[in-house]
């Protein structure tokens, strides 16, 4: 059975009606938003959750003894339960709220990094987003940790044999790889990677920024030790991200930032830290955004991650087919398992010109190095154009994309 035979199981009209922005026009054309991998649009449920919090029930949390503070604390802490269930984490106390995925990874590089010893190594892959690369470089330069790069195959899959070789000397303390590439769409074989890492005595971190959006995530089934994601790609607000880690690791790690709420007692001489997860949440957190992330998760789950995955698999297969027919178009990467992200180039047309001309026609895609410069170098490119899909994307939008690409090519050649 070809993937093209997947039934489109979502009620797209009803879903799209939940996203006010999808009714907007851009350059007098209806908006075709194919840049969800950069950041997704927000459903009414999320917009209302934020507005209602600010309109009816808001105060600073945790230390307040009054009604508004108690209720806001409950709403905030309730999202920890939602996120734990969303990731199938063993405990709500393993959920740390951060600004975004980037901060979550920096937190691990700082605090778990402090437990690594000079001479130990961290392995990342050739297809990492800068968010899962630069923090490890900074750790390397600060702490004498070796940084090893697991190569990818020409098809855009992680080279597991090469990874095995990198793990062989037993020096690796952490394997930190993406669970889904934001450029190639590659979904990595997380369980296999975790097993290899664990067999070599290493912990494993998955950057789930892209993948949690598209499929059901189960950190226990994946064998993950750390998992990160970012709210704004999951139809939630900006300013909120998540680090999940095994409690035992969080307990052992020193705090990242100091301040209110992360302490147990403070004297000028010495402070002691609050329990996990609060040890890692210094200062007033993104209260309103966390509550809205909860609304996003509840909303996405009401649709169902499996239905979303099926819808996007259908769309992706359809798009790969349609784009192959565009003259001069070259799809970058042929991974074994791909999420709803497609990078491409076009002979004789620079990706920036593609993006601008699509934009003139109401179509939003991304062009550039996608915060993955070393991957671009590996691919021998300086930039690609990238179309990415969300649960609100429909087949007709892919048709508009493909048709417009044909015209752009005609225009330039």
């Amino acid at each position: 059975m070809s993937v093209l035979q997947h039934k489109n199981t979502l009620d797209s009209a009803a879903i799209r009606a939940q996203f006010p922005i999808l009714g907007e026009k851009v350059h007098d054309r209806p908006l075709v938003f194919l840049d969800s991998a950069a950041s997704a649009q927000k459903p009414v449920a999320v917009i209302d959750a934020m507005a209602n919090t600010m309109r009816t029930q808001y105060a600073n949390i945790h230390r307040g003894l009054h009604w508004m503070s108690e209720r806001t604390t409950e709403a905030y802490e309730g999202v920890r339960d939602l996120v734990a269930a969303f990731l199938n984490a063993p405990s709500r106390n393993e959920i740390v709220f951060t600004r975004n995925s980037t901060e979550a990874i920096n937190l691990v590089a700082h605090s778990f990094g402090a437990l690594l010893k000079p001479g130990q190594a961290v392995v990342i892959s050739e297809m990492e987003h800068h968010a899962n690369l630069v923090p490890w470089q900074m750790l390397r330069d600060r702490a004498g940790i070796e940084l090893r790069i697991a190569p990818i195959t020409d098809a855009g899959d992680l080279d597991l044999e090469a990874l095995q070789t990198l793990l062989a000397d037993g020096k690796v303390g952490l394997v930190a790889v993406t669970h889904m590439s934001n450029v190639l769409g590659t979904v990595t074989p997380a369980k296999a990677i975790a097993d290899m890492a664990h067999a070599a005595g290493a912990q494993v971190l998955f950057d789930g920024s892209q993948s949690v959006v598209h499929r059901k995530t189960d950190v226990q089934a994946l064998g993950a030790d750390f998992y990160t994601f970012t709210g704004h790609k999951l139809y939630g607000p900006t300013g909120i991200g998540v680090l999940w880690a095994r409690k035992e690791l969080l307990d052992a790690m020193p705090p990242f930032m100091g301040g209110g709420d992360m302490i147990s007692t403070v004297t000028f001489e010495r402070s002691t830290w609050a329990n996990v997860p609060h040890k890692f949440e210094a200062g007033t957190p993104a209260i309103i955004e966390t509550i809205a992330l909860g609304a996003a998760i509840t909303w996405v789950e009401s649709i169902g991650m499996d239905a979303i995955a099926a819808h996007e698999a259908y769309l992706t297969a359809y798009a790969l087919n349609r784009l192959q027919d565009v003259p001069g178009l070259n799809i970058v990467g042929q991974p074994q398992d791909r999420g709803g992200v497609i990078s491409f180039t076009m002979a004789d047309v620079h990706p920036h010109d593609i993006a601008t001309l699509l934009d003139r026609n109401g179509i939003a895609i991304r062009a550039g190095h996608h915060c993955a410069e070393p991957l671009m170098r590996r691919l021998g490119l300086t930039a690609t154009a990238r179309a990415s899909f969300g649960l609100y994307t429909v087949k007709e939008e892919i048709d508009v994309l493909a048709d417009t690409l044909v015209r752009i090519r005609d225009f330039f050649v």
Binding site: P351, H352, D353, T356, N361, T404, R407
Partner: protein
């Protein structure tokens, strides 16, 4: 271009033509002034080489790896500054920047811009103002030019 593709206003025929077939691409055998421009955001880069004769730009070549806007901007810049003094060339550059950044197309200020600072074919880039993220593509060659002219020697 078929009529359904919106973008003709932005990608003037001149821009498309020059990006496809630049007239000033390449290197000079004896460059007196060299400047480079690089946009770290996208990796586009351009190298501008000049020769001067009696304080006038007598030869220009550019090597550009970039988008159509950047390529055409480099080529049309080369054409425009040929024969100008360095000061005159930089004035054209200022005026070009103003064209891209300001909300209204700059009128010729009396006295301030001499005739030589007129933009001519560079006016093709005016619609870029509506695409701010692309302005730096058009400015890149001028950044390289500025660098070339600010060096005392090669």
């Amino acid at each position: 271009m078929t009529q359904v593709l919106d973008g003709s206003a932005l990608y003037d025929q001149l821009i498309v033509a020059r990006s496809r077939t630049p007239l000033f691409a390449g290197r000079l055998e004896q460059a007196e002034k060299v400047g480079n421009g690089k946009n770290p955001l996208c990796g586009d880069k351009t190298r501008v080489e000049l020769a001067l004769d009696h304080n006038h730009i007598s030869q220009v070549r550019h090597q550009t790896r970039g988008c159509a806007i950047c390529l055409a901007a480099a080529d049309l810049m080369a054409e425009r500054i040929l024969g100008l003094s360095p000061d005159q060339a930089l004035k054209v550059g200022q005026r070009f920047s103003a064209l891209l950044v300001e909300d209204t197309v700059p009128a010729t200020h009396e006295g301030e811009f001499e005739e030589n600072a007129a933009l001519g074919p560079l006016m093709a880039f005016a619609p870029l103002r509506a695409h701010r993220s692309r302005i730096r593509c058009a400015e890149l060659p001028w950044v390289a030019l500025k660098e070339a002219l600010s060096h005392d020697d090669v």
